[in-house]
């Protein structure tokens, strides 16, 4: 073909220059033959040189990724996104990666234990309420921050007062909780009293998110945004933004010394490249492993996450105002089949937002069984067969959301409904729907919730909750009483009662608890991976 094209070009040239066509051809031949001896070796030399340079560079690099690979005291990690300036209380979905650094540098007064319960960490014992508006915190003695500042009441007071500054509250992940904290004062060197706006049952869970900072260092400048200083088992030796980050064991650490003393954290956004880096031996552990890719890695570390993708049904207007329709939708949804979207990993929620590890979880509840026949009967009784129902989903924002919504839509179509899956394409659209009431609210809105204590999310269930499309007087009463109750057992009972009523009222379709997966080399073990997906390196072991 190219020969033919060339022939055409020759003919065109000959037409344009009839008197010189032959000479041109000869000319070309002469240049070609004249240059052959001189240029071809030169071209070959140039290309060869390029290859040689590449090979040399490759040789230089070949040893680099393997340099600290075989030590039992070092770990190399790849995460999917950047760790942005280390505001200790910052955090939305774009900031989640920084917890892989900060959770190892900072500590909190109270922490979530291995079995999901709360345990004192920097507090010497669990804080207790001394009246309905005041909690007393006792701090462990003999602890210092990695820069040598002592951990004392002044540090705790500073950290608590700091979270109520407008600029900190603006993006704080647990803003709703922090707003309850109205004051903190030193009682003695290791005792602090914290006052709350009203009796606040979520106080202890709030303390699990409130990182304690060294007041002298933090108040002097914003240096902590790039060089965080805490009491935790590691110090950040280097790294910011897109990394790489180097964590070293904190020589002043008060607790058991971590066996891994060096952690190198890289940011690799592309999931396939993360897997390749693991397989090439460049890293030992990768975060955000897709369930589909679990066969591609030497070892999978999995835990059931805390997230519960849920369809919030509009109980106040439209087709879903009828409880029979809502129950029918629950019966029509094959939740076990939805797990296949995450390769069978994860769990089916027990008719509630909460995983078993979250405070308020009601172990007596069971998911609505998959029963299309019963769903059809209920829809028929409600006169809803053949009617149209809308599922709104912000697929652009939540990974896997569109697949889940489409799978549920298929279930609902199978029982005789006409289902419209409405893709939300902007945050404004999603937030607008989430805050909407009555007719303006979609029949079913995809809402992923991550809850560690129901206290923080009652706004999704209370009748007058800003983000709620649910309304039930018994649920309101139980939740409100629970919020005011400081006795933990009593509060748990009230929350469980609220969840049971809400389950019967079928205001939500809790679809799945998706898994949190990591890929690892065979030499890595992790006894208790965290459900929230953050990596804490003290619980990991690396064989040499």
């Amino acid at each position: 073909m190219f020969r033919t094209l060339y022939g055409i070009a020759e003919q065109e040239a000959a037409k344009q220059k009839p008197t010189h066509g032959k000479e041109s051809h000869v000319m070309r031949g002469q240049i070609r033959s004249g240059g052959r001896r001189a240029r071809v070796p030169r071209f070959a030399a140039i290309v060869g040189s390029a290859l040689l340079v590449s090979a040399v560079l490759a040789g230089v690099s070949a040893s680099a990724p393997m340099s600290d690979a075989q030590s039992a005291s070092s770990l190399r990690v790849a995460m999917a996104g950047p760790s942005i300036p280390f505001e200790p209380q910052g955090g939305n979905s774009d900031h989640r990666y920084m917890h892989n650094i900060l959770d190892n540098v900072y500590e909190t007064l109270v922490a979530t234990g291995p079995n999901g319960g709360l345990v004192p960490l920097l507090a010497s014992k669990m804080p207790v309420p001394i009246n309905r508006h005041t909690w007393r915190i006792k701090i462990r003695s003999g602890i210092s921050f990695s820069n040598g500042e002592p951990l004392n009441a002044a540090a705790v007071v500073y950290s608590i007062r700091r979270v109520n500054r407008p600029e900190i509250l603006a993006t704080a992940d647990f803003r709703d909780n922090f707003e309850y904290l109205t004051g903190a004062r030193e009682v003695d060197r290791l005792t602090v009293d914290v006052t709350t706006r009203s009796p606040f049952s979520g106080f202890l869970i709030t303390l699990t998110t409130l990182r304690i900072m060294p007041p002298n260092y933090a108040s002097r400048s914003n240096a902590f945004l790039t060089r965080p200083i805490g009491t935790g088992p590691y110090v950040l030796a280097s790294g910011t933004g897109n990394g790489p980050f180097v964590l070293r064991a904190n020589p002043r650490y008060w607790g058991p010394k971590p066996t891994i003393t060096n952690v190198n954290v890289r940011v690799i956004p592309d999931p396939n490249t993360r897997i390749s880096a693991l397989r090439a031996g460049e890293v030992d552990l990768i975060a955000d492993l897709s369930p589909d890719a679990r066969a591609s890695v030497p070892k999978v570390i999995a835990t059931t996450g805390r997230e519960t993708p849920t369809l919030s049904l509009n109980t106040r207007s439209g087709i879903t105002a009828d409880v029979r329709v809502r129950r029918a939708l629950n019966y029509a949804t094959n939740k076990t089949a939805l797990l296949s979207l995450s390769a069978g990993l994860g769990a089916v929620p027990k008719c509630q937002f909460l995983t078993p590890a979250a405070f308020g979880h009601n172990p007596r509840l069971r998911p609505y069984p998959f029963d299309p026949g019963r769903a059809r009967t209920l829809l028929s009784q409600a006169g809803a067969s053949g009617r149209t129902i809308t599922i709104a989903v912000a697929g652009f924002r939540f990974a896997g959301a569109s697949d889940l919504a489409q799978a549920v839509a298929a279930n609902w179509r199978a029982v005789g409904l006409n289902v419209n899956v409405q893709q939300q394409t902007t945050n404004d659209e999603f937030i607008g729907a989430l805050n909407a009431k009555g007719d303006k609210r979609p029949d079913a809105l995809y809402t992923p919730l991550t809850i560690v204590d129901l206290t923080t999310h009652v706004r999704f269930m209370l009748s007058d909750g800003a983000l709620s499309s649910f309304s039930h007087p018994e649920v309101d009463a139980a939740l409100r009483q629970g919020l005011r109750t400081l006795n933990t057992e009593r509060r748990l009972a009230l929350y469980q009662e609220a969840l049971e009523v809400a389950c019967n009222a079928a205001g939500f379709i809790h679809m799945v608890h998706p898994p949190t997966l990591w890929g690892a080399s065979r030499r890595v073990s992790w006894s208790a991976p965290r459900a929230d997906g953050a990596m804490t390196y003290t619980g990991m072991r690396v064989s040499g």
């Binding site: 240059g35 240029r39 560079l57 070949a62 942005i84 940011v267 490249t273 800003a466």
Partner: protein, 312 residues
Amino acid sequence: VGGVTFAYIGGRLLHGLGVVLAVTTVVFFATRFIGDPVRTALPITATEEQAEEYRRILGLDQPLLEQYATYLADVARLDFGESILYAPEPAASLVLDALPATLTLVVSSFALALLLGLPLGAIAALRPGSWIDNVVVTLSLAGLSMPAFWFAQLLILLFALRLGILPTSGSGSVSHIVLPMITLGVPLAGRISQLVRSSMLDELTKLYILAARARGLSSRAIFLRHLMRNVLVAISSFVTFEIARAFVGATLIAEVVFAYPGIGQLAIQAGKANDVVLLSAVVLIASILVVLLNLASDILRGLIDPRVRVAG
């Protein structure tokens, strides 16, 4: 400067300023209408009051024209404000910090592309219809047709996993740039070789070649002084365009796949987080670079080709 007048350079600069101003305006209004950055930055549970408060902190509660006037004044000082995603880091310094990495990638990719594309195109043109011509044309078409993300993954599989001689990703040593450089450079080499081949075939039919031969010039002199000079003029515009394209988009895929910390990766992060401040900074600084690049190209072409030395 080598026959190119200052009036000509001044005119090109003024034209460039106009382009930057137009881009500034488009970027400002586009980023205001692609979605509410406040709602993206805040947790989904934030109330409208909380969103309003954050909007006030960011200055997004002001009337749009007032915001635009402030924005123009700030941009003139290269002050884009604090990135929302990386707050309180200034957006301009984030981009300027990432720029050397992208520049290194672009320069090395083009060096590779020219190193491969020029000789291969020349060889193909000097042996039209031969097996080597067919091989070069086929390879260049293959290079052109491969999607960058797929080609990048193939390179990782071969060099990092199979041969184990290059790192999969990252930065910090020269070896880290090899695979992204090949990902960008090889398809470009394909385009350059095709362009060189067709330009040379055109030039070879022209009378000045015959005249040069008649004057008794050697084949080497004709090739280097006459033929390649004209071919270079033809491909210089193309190379300028491709470099500009690399800055405003082509490096994105390579930077993301290879976790290479340049402005492309920064742009992706800013886009995902709806960080309008950072996004504006990336687009504007890239557009300023493109304008400067075009100016340099115009001057260079003036130096190579006397016909384009236009006063004013």
